[in-house]
C-alpha cells in the first residue's frame, strides 16, 4: 500500500480519525478538509485516501453510511466508532510523545 512520502508512517490514520472525530464526512469532503486544515502542507493523494479509509473501516474504528451529500447526491459518509475514539486517543498520545522526542533531538545544539 503506497503512502504519501511526506507523512510519517501511521500518521495518516491519526489525521483521518481526528478529522472524523469532528463530524461525519464523505471521502471527497475528507480530502478537502485535510487540505484546508493543514494549509496545503499535508498533501494526501486522492488515490491513497480510500485504501486508508477502508482499512480504518475494517479495523472497526470508523463506520460508513450512505447518505445524501451537500449537493444532494448519494455519498459514503464515515463516522468514528467508540473503538475509533479510543484509538484516536491512543494515537494522539503516541504522536505527542513522538513529536516531543523528535523536537528535543532536533533542538540539541551540541553533543
Amino acid at each position: 500500500m503506497s503512502r504519501p512520502s511526506d507523512l510519517v508512517q501511521g500518521t495518516l490514520d491519526l489525521l483521518l480519525l481526528k478529522i472524523l472525530a469532528l463530524e461525519p464526512l464523505n471521502g471527497w469532503a475528507i480530502s478537502q478538509r485535510l487540505k484546508q486544515v493543514s494549509g496545503d502542507v499535508l498533501q494526501v493523494s486522492d488515490g491513497s485516501l480510500y485504501p486508508a479509509l477502508h482499512k480504518l473501516e475494517q479495523e472497526g474504528w470508523i463506520t460508513a453510511e450512505w447518505k445524501a451529500s451537500e449537493n444532494n447526491r448519494r455519498a459514503k459518509f464515515y463516522s468514528l466508532t467508540r473503538l475509533g475514539r479510543r484509538q484516536l486517543q491512543k494515537e494522539a498520545a503516541n504522536w505527542a510523545r513522538l513529536s516531543d522526542a523528535i523536537t528535543q533531538v532536533v533542538q540539541i545544539e551540541k553533543v
Binding site: 486522492d46 480510500y50 485504501p51 475494517q58 459514503k76
Partner: protein, 901 residues
C-alpha cells in the same frame, strides 16, 4: 474490546464474502463520486471536461490499483482463495470423471461403513444409560475364591446393605419368564421381583401412578405391581387410570399401581416389577438374587468394591465353609450390560477401521498417479510464483472436495444401513433400540471426512512438492507418465493395502471357520424337524414343594395335552422336558447333589447342605425334568441301563438318568447305575433318586461349550416345578405351521390362560447363533470390500506401469522377446507386490488376531489353514488383477508401441 471489534467488523467481513458484488458496487460508486467532484473542481478552474477527467484520473494515481488496495484490506482473501480453490478443484475433478467417481465411491464406502458401525458402537457402548448419573449405578455379585461371580444370598446381601458405607442404595432383584393375565390378553413376558431401593438405585420414578408404598415393601406385604411403558401401551391400552387393572402373575393377583417411563428398561425387557422383601432364615449359600446399587456421590466403583470386599471377607471369616463367597464383585451397570458384546463390537470397529485404511490407501494411490500426471501443471503454477503453501492449499481443496462428496454419500449410506441393521442385529445385543444417525455419529463422520481430507491433501502435496520443477518443465512429452520414484511409492502403498486387506481377510476367515465348526458340531441329537412348544403351567406362588394333589392335577393336564397333540396328523413322536437344550442353555438350573453311598437321605436342607459340602460324597450337575418320550423324540441314545418306565410313579422309588459326561466325571472307575443320590435342592423334594440309566451327551449350554453333566428326573415323579420351563417337543416332517395351528387350538381348549411360545428348534438355534452370524456377516462384507479395493489397487499400479513402459515393451518384442516372457515380466511385478504385502500382512495378523481369540471356537487364533487359505486367495486375486494389464502388454504391436508417446 475484542467483542466490540467483532461487533463492527463481522458484518463487513460477511458482506465482503457473501455480498461481494454489492461491496464492489459500493467501492465503484464511492470512487466515482470522488472523481466527479474532482472533475467539477478542475472544470471550475477552467479546464475542459475531458482535460478535467484526465487530470482527476491522474490524481487518483491508477484507479484500478487503488480499488485492489481497497479490496486487500478486506482481510477475507484467505477465505476467498479457499473458495476459489474449491471451485477450481471441483472443475478439475469434474474434468476427470472416472478418477473422481472411483475416489468418491471408495471414500463413501469407507466413511459409510465406519459411520454405520460407529452408530452401533455409539448406541451400545458410548451413549450413557438413560438414568441420572449412570456411572454411579453398579451391579454386585458374590465372588468365589476361584473368581467366579455368583448371585447373592439374602443374609449376605443384608450384611452388604447394612455394613457398607459406599452405597446410597442397594437392592436385590430377580427376574424370570412367566405369564401375566389381566391385561387385554395373557402374555408370556419377563417379570422381576425387586426389594425396596431398586428404583431409587436407578434413580427413576414412575411416569404414571405411584411408587411402591412402605406397606407393600415388607415381608408378606400388600401386593402391588409396576408395569413397563411397553406393557402398558400394548396390554393396558395406555389408560391413565390404573385403578381397574389387576394382573395375575404366577397365580397371585396384583393391582397395577404405576407405569415406569419409556426409557426405563432394567432388567432388560422386563414387563412388570413386583415388590419382594428378604425372607428371614435363608441360607448363606442360596445364591438366588442379583444386586444393584447406587454408589454415593464422590465414591468410585473401585472404592465400593473394596468396601464390599472387606465385608465379604468378614463374612467368610465368620462363617467359613458355610459360605461360598470370599470377595465381592462390583461392575458399573453399563459395563455389566455390554459385557460380552464389547469384544465383538470393537472387532467390528477394528475391521471397519482397517477397511477405511484400505480405502484411503487406494485413493492415495489414485491421487499419486494423478499428481504424477499433473506435474507439468503444478510446475507451471509454481514457476508463476504460487507459493508452497498456496499449492498445499490447492491440494487440500481438492482432497476436501473429494472427501466431502464421499462423506455425504457415506452418511447417506450409513443412514440407510441404520434402518436396515436392526433386521440383522442379534437380538441379544443390548440397547440397540437407540440406534440412530444422531449428532455424535455425524460428528464422527465429519471427523473422518476432515481426517481423510487433510491426510490425503497433505500426502499429495508432499509427493508433488518432491518433484523437481526444472525436470518437470523440460521432460517434454514424457512429463505425463510420472517418475520412477512415484511409481515405487505407489508400489509401497499397494503393499500396505494388501497387508491390511490380509488382516481383515484372516479375521473374517477365522470367524467363518469358527462358525462352520460351530454349526457342524453335533449338539448330541437330531435338531431337524423339531417343533418346540414352551408354556407356563400355573404354579401356585410360594409353593416351592409341590404337593401330591397339585402334582396329580398338573400331570393330568399334561397327559391330556400330550395325547391330544400326539393325535395331530403328521406328528411322529413327541416328548416333554423342563428345558430345551442349546437355545435355553443359560436358563438351565444347576447345583450340587449328594451321593448317598448307603447313608440315609437328608431330612432337611441344613443336613443336605452339610452333606453336599463333603467333596467325596457330592457332585455338581444340571437339572432337567423330562419324560421317557423326550429322549426318543430328540434322538438321545440310551447308552446303558434303562429309561424311565411305566413302573416309575409317585409312590415307587424315584429314579434318575444321567448324561455320559456326568458318569465320566463323577464315577470314572465305577458303575453309576444303582447309585443313590439326592438332588432335592432343585425341586424341593428330598426323596432320594436311584440312577437307572446313562444317556448320550447334549451340548445343553450351547454348541461352543462342552456337554455338561446332567441329571434327568421323571416329571411324573417330580413334577414340573418352578425350576422347569415345560416344553413339548414334536418331531414331524409335516410343515411346522400346520402342526402349530392345530396345537394352538388344543392349548386353547385345555388351558386358555396358559401362554405358549411356538417355535422350531432350527429357529431357536439360529437365534442362538445370531450374534456370531452377524459378526461374521459384517466382517465378511468388510473383507470382501477390502479385497476388491486391493484388487483395484494392484490393477492400477500394474496397468499404469504397463502404459509407462509401452515403448520399452515394444522394443523387447521387436528384439524378439517372446510374449510369454512379457507376460511373466508384467505379472511378476504384481506378484512381487502381492508377496511383500502378504508377508507383512501375515506377520501383522499373527499379532492382531490374538485379540479375537475369545470370539473363536474350535480353532486357534493362528489357525494355519485360514492363514494359508487367505494368503492363497489374496495372491490369486493379485495375479488376476495383474494378468489383465499383462495380456494387454503381451498383445502390443511393436510397431505402434514404439511410436507410443
Amino acid at each position: 474490546m475484542r467483542m466490540e471489534h467483532w461487533f463492527y467488523t463481522l458484518p463487513l467481513r460477511l458482506r465482503s464474502l457473501f455480498r461481494r458484488p454489492r461491496a464492489e458496487q459500493d467501492l465503484n460508486e464511492e470512487l466515482q463520486y470522488h472523481l466527479e467532484q474532482k472533475i467539477e473542481e478542475y472544470v471550475a478552474q477552467g479546464l475542459t471536461r475531458d482535460e478535467a477527467r484526465q487530470a482527476a484520473l491522474r490524481a487518483m494515481d491508477g484507479i484500478e490499483r487503488r480499488k485492489e488496495e481497497c479490496r486487500d484490506v478486506r482481510r477475507v482473501n484467505a477465505v476467498e482463495n479457499a473458495l476459489r480453490d474449491i471451485r477450481y478443484s471441483c472443475r478439475v475433478l469434474l474434468k476427470s470423471p472416472g478418477f473422481t467417481a472411483v475416489a468418491v465411491l471408495t471414500l463413501a464406502l469407507g466413511i459409510g461403513a465406519s459411520t454405520a458401525i460407529f452408530s452401533v458402537v455409539d448406541a451400545v457402548l458410548l451413549r450413557p444409560l438413560p438414568y441420572p448419573n449412570p456411572q454411579q449405578i453398579a451391579l454386585v455379585w458374590e465372588q468365589s475364591s476361584r473368581h467366579h461371580r455368583m448371585s447373592v444370598a439374602d443374609p449376605n446381601f443384608e450384611d452388604f446393605r447394612n455394613q457398607n458405607n459406599t452405597f446410597a442404595n442397594l437392592a436385590e432383584y430377580a427376574y424370570w419368564t412367566s405369564s401375566i393375565s389381566g391385561g387385554s390378553e395373557p402374555a408370556r413376558v419377563d417379570i422381576a421381583e425387586v426389594t425396596s431401593g431398586f428404583f431409587d438405585a436407578l434413580g427413576m420414578k414412575p411416569f404414571r401412578g405411584r411408587a411402591f408404598a412402605p406397606e407393600e415393601q415388607r415381608f408378606h406385604g400388600a401386593p402391588a405391581a409396576m408395569v413397563s411403558y411397553r406393557y402398558w401401551q400394548r396390554y393396558l391400552n395406555a389408560r391413565s387410570d390404573l385403578s381397574n387393572f389387576h394382573l395375575t402373575i404366577d397365580g397371585s393377583v396384583y393391582p397395577v399401581i404405576g407405569v415406569m417411563p419409556e426409557q426405563f428398561d432394567f432388567p432388560p425387557g422386563v414387563a412388570a416389577w413386583i415388590p419382594r422383601e428378604i425372607s428371614p432364615g435363608t441360607e448363606r449359600t442360596a445364591h438366588n438374587w442379583r444386586v444393584i446399587g447406587r454408589v454415593r456421590d464422590g465414591v468410585t466403583v473401585a472404592q465400593a468394591r473394596a468396601d464390599l470386599g472387606l465385608i465379604a471377607r468378614r463374612i467368610r471369616a465368620q462363617y467359613g465353609n458355610k459360605v461360598d463367597l470370599s470377595d465381592a464383585a462390583v461392575l458399573t451397570l453399563a459395563d455389566a450390560l455390554v459385557g460380552d458384546v464389547r469384544t465383538a463390537l470393537l472387532t467390528l470397529l477394528g475391521a471397519v477401521g482397517l477397511l477405511m485404511l484400505v480405502a484411503c490407501t487406494n485413493v492415495a494411490g489414485l491421487l499419486l498417479a494423478r499428481t504424477s500426471a499433473r506435474r507439468k501443471e503444478l510446475a507451471v503454477r509454481a514457476a508463476l510464483g504460487a507459493g508452497r503453501l498456496r499449492l498445499i492449499q490447492q491440494f487440500l481443496a481438492e482432497s476436501f472436495s473429494l472427501a466431502l462428496a464421499g462423506g455425504v454419500l457415506g452418511v447417506l449410506l450409513a443412514a440407510w444401513a441404520v434402518r436396515v441393521l436392526p433386521a440383522i442385529l442379534p437380538s441379544n445385543l443390548p440397547r440397540q433400540q437407540g440406534l440412530a444417525v444422531n449428532a455424535p455419529v455425524l460428528l464422527f463422520a465429519l471427523a473422518a471426512i476432515v481426517a481423510l481430507a487433510v491426510s490425503l491433501g497433505l500426502f499429495a502435496a508432499w509427493r508433488a512438492g518432491r518433484a523437481d520443477l526444472q525436470e518437470a518443465l523440460t521432460s517434454g512429452a514424457r512429463g505425463n507418465t510420472g517418475s520412477g520414484s512415484s511409481e515405487r511409492f505407489r508400489g509401497l502403498l499397494v503393499i500396505g493395502e494388501i497387508a491390511t486387506t490380509l488382516v481383515i481377510l484372516i479375521g473374517a476367515g477365522l470367524l467363518g471357520r469358527s462358525f462352520l465348526q460351530l454349526i457342524s458340531t453335533s449338539p448330541g441329537f437330531r435338531p431337524q424337524n423339531l417343533i418346540t412348544m414352551e408354556f407356563a403351567l400355573p404354579i401356585p406362588k410360594g409353593q416351592w414343594v409341590m404337593e401330591q394333589t397339585a402334582m396329580l392335577r398338573q400331570l393330568h393336564l399334561l397327559e391330556d395335552m400330550l395325547s391330544r397333540i400326539r393325535a395331530i396328523p403328521g406328528v411322529e413322536t413327541l416328548g416333554l422336558a423342563g428345558a430345551i437344550p442349546v437355545a435355553a442353555g443359560d436358563d438351565l438350573a444347576e447345583g450340587d447333589f449328594v451321593i448317598l453311598n448307603g447313608q440315609k437321605a437328608p431330612t432337611n436342607y441344613d443336613e443336605f447342605g452339610r452333606m453336599a459340602r463333603n467333596r467325596f460324597q457330592s457332585g455338581h450337575a444340571e437339572y432337567c425334568t423330562a419324560g421317557e418320550q423326550y429322549f426318543r423324540t430328540i434322538g438321545l441314545p440310551l447308552i446303558r441301563g434303562r429309561m424311565f418306565g411305566e413302573q416309575d410313579d409317585w409312590n415307587s422309588p424315584h429314579v434318575a438318568v444321567i448324561s455320559e459326561a456326568l458318569a465320566r466325571e463323577r464315577w470314572p472307575h465305577q458303575d453309576p447305575i444303582g447309585q443313590m443320590i439326592d438332588f432335592g435342592n432343585m425341586d424341593g423334594n428330598l426323596k432320594p433318586l436311584t440312577i437307572v440309566g446313562i444317556v448320550g451327551d447334549v451340548r445343553a449350554r450351547g454348541l461352543d461349550l462342552p456337554p455338561p453333566a446332567i441329571i434327568y428326573v421323571d416329571y411324573r415323579q417330580r413334577g414340573m416345578n418352578p425350576n422347569s420351563a415345560p416344553t413339548i417337543l414334536v418331531r414331524s416332517a409335516a410343515p411346522a405351521g400346520e402342526i402349530i395351528t392345530a396345537a394352538r387350538g388344543i392349548f386353547h381348549d385345555l388351558a386358555p390362560d396358559v401362554p405358549v411360545k411356538f417355535s422350531t428348534f432350527a429357529e431357536e438355534m439360529s437365534g442362538w447363533l445370531a450374534d456370531r452370524r452377524f459378526l461374521l456377516l459384517l466382517v465378511g462384507l468388510f473383507a470382501a470390500a477390502a479385497l476388491s479395493l486391493a484388487a483395484i489397487g494392484i490393477y492400477g499400479v500394474v496397468a499404469f506401469s504397463v502404459t509407462r513402459r509401452t515403448q520399452e515393451i515394444g522394443i523387447r518384442i521387436a528384439l524378439g522377446a517372446d510374449r510369454a516372457h512379457v507376460l511373466r515380466m508384467v505379472v511378476g511385478e504384481g506378484a512381487r507386490l502381492a508377496l511383500a504385502g502378504v508377508a507383512i500382512g501375515i506377520a501383522a495378523s499373527l499379532i492382531i488376531t490374538r485379540l479375537l481369540s475369545s470370539l473363536l471356537f474350535g480353532i486357534s487364533a493362528t489357525d494355519p489353514i485360514t492363514f494359508l487359505g487367505v494368503a492363497a486367495l489374496l495372491s490369486l486375486v493379485a495375479l488376476i488383477a495383474s494378468y489383465i494389464p499383462a495380456r494387454r502388454a503381451m498383445g502390443l504391436d511393436p510397431n505402434t508401441a514404439l511410436r507410443y508417446e
